[in-house]
């Protein structure tokens, strides 16, 4: 791959970076060559890390997602990979529209040159004099807190919205695999590693952690399907930096 020697560009987020790579390398957005894109993407993220730039968790989550799509697309039956790629294409097109419109808005900012006035201060009594039904107040309260009444405000997490996802790092999964598998040579069911996964991101991270450990010969996989067994070849958890899991 060509060396990127120019000053690292700053991107608004993983979508911005992906669009840039697709455009730069003339990739087909409607049929993304996933292996190429993963390589380009991870190469860029690595450079960000080497340049000591702050890498937002969103970039890492996208890396995990791309690697997952790549992994799935290597399987003999790859309908899922096609679906995942289509999903990504849709999101990229949507974000491309967003950038396009943002650019158009940025070009018509003449209105920011028009100045307006503060309201004049005249002596009027600002006291509110309308009347309302007490039930309007309760309706407003229930509207904020929802059907389930709470004594205390719920944690901020509860208000983060409906599609917020929790990001699981591969590194943390490597640690938890070591913990789960216990001593060197002890055999465990492969599937058991995924038993307590909480989300898709969790599953992906666990899977990537297994691949990483197998690649670096810390872990041995045997058998297939439900019969697959897994055991540790190493005694301790070495330092796996998050940069190594490509």
């Amino acid at each position: 791959m060509e060396q990127i020697s120019y000053k690292l560009e700053v991107f608004e987020g993983p979508m911005d970076l992906l669009l840039h790579l697709i455009s730069k390398h003339k990739l087909n957005i409607y049929d993304i060559p996933i292996i190429e894109l993963v390589e380009q993407y991870i190469a860029y993220v690595k450079q960000m890390q080497e340049a000591d730039m702050y890498v937002a968790s969103e970039f890492l989550e996208m890396a995990a997602r791309l690697v997952y799509i790549k992994t799935v697309s290597l399987l003999p039956v790859y309908e899922e990979a096609e679906d995942l790629k289509k999903e990504l294409t849709g999101e990229l097109l949507e974000y491309r529209d967003c950038q396009l419109m943002a650019g158009k808005l940025a070009k018509r900012t003449e209105g920011f040159d028009r100045f307006v006035r503060e309201p004049i201060q005249i002596d009027i009594d600002p006291t509110y004099t309308r009347l309302h039904e007490p039930t309007e107040l309760m309706r407003a309260y229930l509207n904020v807190v929802g059907k389930k009444m709470r004594k205390l405000p719920p944690p901020i997490e509860a208000f983060r919205g409906i599609v917020a996802t929790k990001i699981v790092s591969v590194e943390s999964k490597i640690k938890s695999i070591f913990k789960k598998l216990g001593k060197k040579g002890e055999k465990h069911r492969f599937r058991a590693l995924f038993a307590d996964a909480q989300s898709r991101s969790d599953l992906v991270a666990t899977f990537l952690a297994v691949l990483e450990l197998a690649k670096t010969k810390k872990l041995y996989l045997d058998g297939e399907g439900d019969a697959m067994r897994v055991e540790l070849l190493a005694e301790d958890f070495d330092n796996f930096s998050s940069q190594e899991w490509e």
């Binding site: 007490p134 107040l137 904020v144």
Partner: protein, 197 residues
């Protein structure tokens, strides 16, 4: 900028945007012309505003200048500002008011935690409207201000005390919002004798 008409318009725009009375010199500096020419310019502006019967006029206050609405339109201005003051509360304002009313005294951060967004502006407006007021400070690091409702708040909702506000549904009850509201509304229409809480 060369011609006098454009300079006059620039002076008008500057006076309009600044709002407050402003020194002749500052206008002159912004227009990059002499103070004397600026004075002449402002006299012309004033004359032209008068001539065309504008609702705005130029005031000279000592060495400062300010655009102002003409005194004769004070009733209309007052009427608009009064209508504006009494515009119905926004949904955001209602929500903040409800959170304060049912949990008082509360800090701003409590309200913000419940609503999930910054509420400084809304709380300030409610204070101005005298529906909410400061109620001391919380004995915690930073000593945050506490807010509670006012007597005007009680009048606004036609209740004589906070106890008369509709009761919130039971914490464990699986009752829907609609059912709770219906019950509260029915209660309001046919009050069973007032009982002590």
């Amino acid at each position: 900028m060369v011609n006098a008409k454009e300079l006059q318009a620039a002076a008008e725009a500057v006076l309009f945007s600044v709002g407050e009375p402003i020194e002749l010199e500052r206008i002159a500096a912004a227009l990059e012309i002499e103070a004397e020419s600026t004075e002449q310019l402002l006299m012309n502006l004033s004359a032209s505003l008068d001539e065309r019967g504008s609702g705005i006029c130029l005031l000279k206050l000592g060495s400062k200048y300010q655009l102002s609405s003409r005194a004769q339109f004070a009733p209309q201005i007052r009427s608009v500002l009064e209508i504006k003051r009494n515009a119905p509360l926004s949904q955001a304002a209602f929500e903040v008011l409800a959170v304060i009313a049912y949990n008082q005294p509360v800090t701003k951060s409590f309200v913000e935690q419940v609503r999930g967004v910054d509420c400084s502006g809304v709380i300030a407006t409610l204070c101005q409207k005298k529906l909410v007021e400061e109620k001391g400070r919380l004995d915690l690091p930073g000593r945050p201000l506490l807010y509670g409702t006012t007597p005007e708040f009680l009048r606004c909702f036609s209740v004589s005390s906070l106890e008369e506000l509709p009761e919130l549904p039971n914490h464990d009850a699986e009752q829907s919002i609609e059912a709770t509201l219906e019950a509260a509304e029915a209660e309001a229409e046919h009050p069973t004798e007032t009982q002590d809480e």
